[in-house]
Symmetry: C2
Subunit: 354 residues, 2 copies
């Protein structure tokens, strides 16, 4: 007997992907004043650099923050090494830092521990979470609620994009930059437009039914997108995926490339264009199977399988929309592989690491 | 006609792996005074955090520095995002930071650019390189020569361990900690002992002749070792390898695990023991093929294929010796696969990324 195929539109994952415009709308509506207040407090302090503690999907949001706060706010951002706090019990000094904890559940003990230590050291602490009453929410001086509503699916989608937008709001209001704020306010609409890519993604996904491994490339703002797309593929489809920046890939991993090896390149239009163009040329010279996600025709023409982003958004906000095709690709591929997209094997919604 | 098999002992890679005790001896002998002088200068400044720019193997040395400077010197360490400097032209402020550039060749433009900008901002800059007269060496206020001698093989081995030891010397002399200095001085001897593992590694490697992909796990100090072992496997054997910290692996990638999937666990004795024990138990529950590299019998007994480190070194220095079996494993596996270990496909010794 053939097992009954899951009806995709009935799954939490499907619905949560489609809730994203509405979640962003709610986040912008409900949290703007609160974030403005927090930014006033931050400006009163002499914040010198930023340290972020996060795991999994939230760690990919932290990767976005490295570029966002770096380029826009000129703040150097480091990712915390929780084991220094929880295992070696020898945490670094962070008194002049802004310490940010990002976690959907707010309950991974290692992330909470970083925030507790930072607060004890006198650092300014902020939590970004979907559960403001969690241990993480309670530990931080300021807590931003990402307002995503309950996320049932084990693979995080709407909480990732709302974390990104929470970070974008922090960056913009810290600078009191009207143009940035304006752009952020367009995001629910842009997200709506981006969701229209679903059919196209569904059509090309079947080709990868038996893909066993692949590489995902992104650089700059979309380094985060490469990591998050890779994580969705691992969680939902059990593919072995390695994410890289284009520069890191050339320093060694390039040797792995064989004819037909699938390489996904996340390359929305922007300053990263020349880098991505040259990189795609290198991939083609090695006869890789190049799948380009972009809104730039010049890059799409160079790819074996082009994935056209339906709209162009400012590069610094492009990670919010450019992950959506990745979420969908992973969902459709899991479906073609008869995997329950809401409950991939071995995983639980909340992972408590120490 | 069967192609003539490469004689491994005639290769640069083989010889460079075996040069490691001698290189470390030379580094300790020639650079100690210079590093002490640099540390005096660092102490005069109010260094608040550390930013490191590096790529490839040197980026893995930077990962070691995150734990070393964090745990021992209580300095928060962030890894630089070079594209903010070279592509977005919007570098973060780093005036209170110690900015470190690590590069074997000293000639990757993106890494040089980070140091130039840091110096222009008034930050304290240090280069760690095998070519002190390179652009990187010239850009930094202080340059530490890692004294590895010319490295011919494309895959870096002796320059990696000498970068690690250069960092360890910085950490120890910054603290003027005699116990640490003492331990560092034992490294050439410990390295000599570790090289005796060669036959054992050679014997178990053949089993992995057809391994297509695998995962390498390390956490804390040996997070760096996991990344560097993974990089050697990619460069030399074209295996698709994903390195993870044990904690990150549980936040998603765990779903990839299938019966017999090879997972290498780098777990020298130390504070990380309970974490590694629990993690190996989880792997066994999922029926993975667990290969443990350790000097701790309790962990070795839990593994399908145990790899016993010949000696025990203090955990904070264990990355210097624990990478050696990884270098050898990658070399022997490449040899079993008839790959020229000195010239893996697609790679050049110096990679110039921007």
């Amino acid at each position: 007997m053939i097992e009954k195929k899951q009806c995709l539109t009935d799954t939490y994952l499907y619905r949560e992907i489609y809730q994203q415009p509405e979640v962003l709308h709610k986040l912008l509506k409900d949290e703007t004043n609160h974030i403005q207040e927090i930014c006033e407090q931050i400006r009163k302090r002499k914040v010198d650099h930023v340290v972020i503690a996060a795991r999994g999907t939230s760690d990919n949001a932290a990767r976005y923050a490295q570029y966002l706060f770096g380029a826009k706010n000129r703040l150097s951002v480091g990712l915390a090494t929780p084991s220094l706090f929880t295992i070696y019990k020898s945490p670094p000094r962070m008194d002049n830092a802004l310490v940010l904890g990002i976690s959907q559940s707010g309950s991974s003990p290692d992330i909470v521990e970083v925030l507790v230590e930072a607060r004890d050291q006198g650092a300014l602490t902020i939590a970004l979470t979907n559960h403001p009453r969690s241990d993480l929410g309670e530990a931080a001086a300021f807590t931003i609620d990402i307002k995503a509503g309950k996320e049932h699916s084990i693979a995080a989608t709407k909480t990732y994009t709302s974390e990104l937008v929470g970070l974008a709001m922090l960056s913009a209001y810290l600078l009191e930059d009207e143009e940035m704020v304006n752009a952020i306010n367009h995001l629910p609409m842009w997200m709506d437009e981006t969701l229209k890519i679903a059919d196209e993604i569904n059509q090309i996904t079947e080709r990868y039914r038996y893909m066993r491994d692949c590489v995902v490339i992104g650089r700059g703002y979309n380094y985060a997108t490469a990591f998050e797309f890779a994580l969705k593929l691992k969680e939902l489809t059990y593919t072995l995926v390695a994410p890289y920046s284009s520069a890191d890939f050339l320093h060694g991993p390039l040797a792995m490339l064989d004819t037909g090896f699938p390489v996904f390149v996340i390359a929305p239009a922007g300053m990263m264009f020349p880098e991505m163009r040259n990189f795609i040329d290198t991939l083609n010279e090695h006869r890789a199977e190049v799948i380009v996600l972009s809104d730039d025709d010049r890059l799409l023409r160079k790819s074996r399988i082009p994935l056209r982003l339906p709209i162009t958004v400012p590069e610094w906000l492009s990670p919010v929309t450019s992950i959506v095709p990745g979420q969908m690709f992973a969902m459709f591929l899991a479906h073609y592989r008869n995997i329950d997209v809401d409950r991939p094997r071995s995983l639980h919604k909340v992972t408590r690491t120490t």
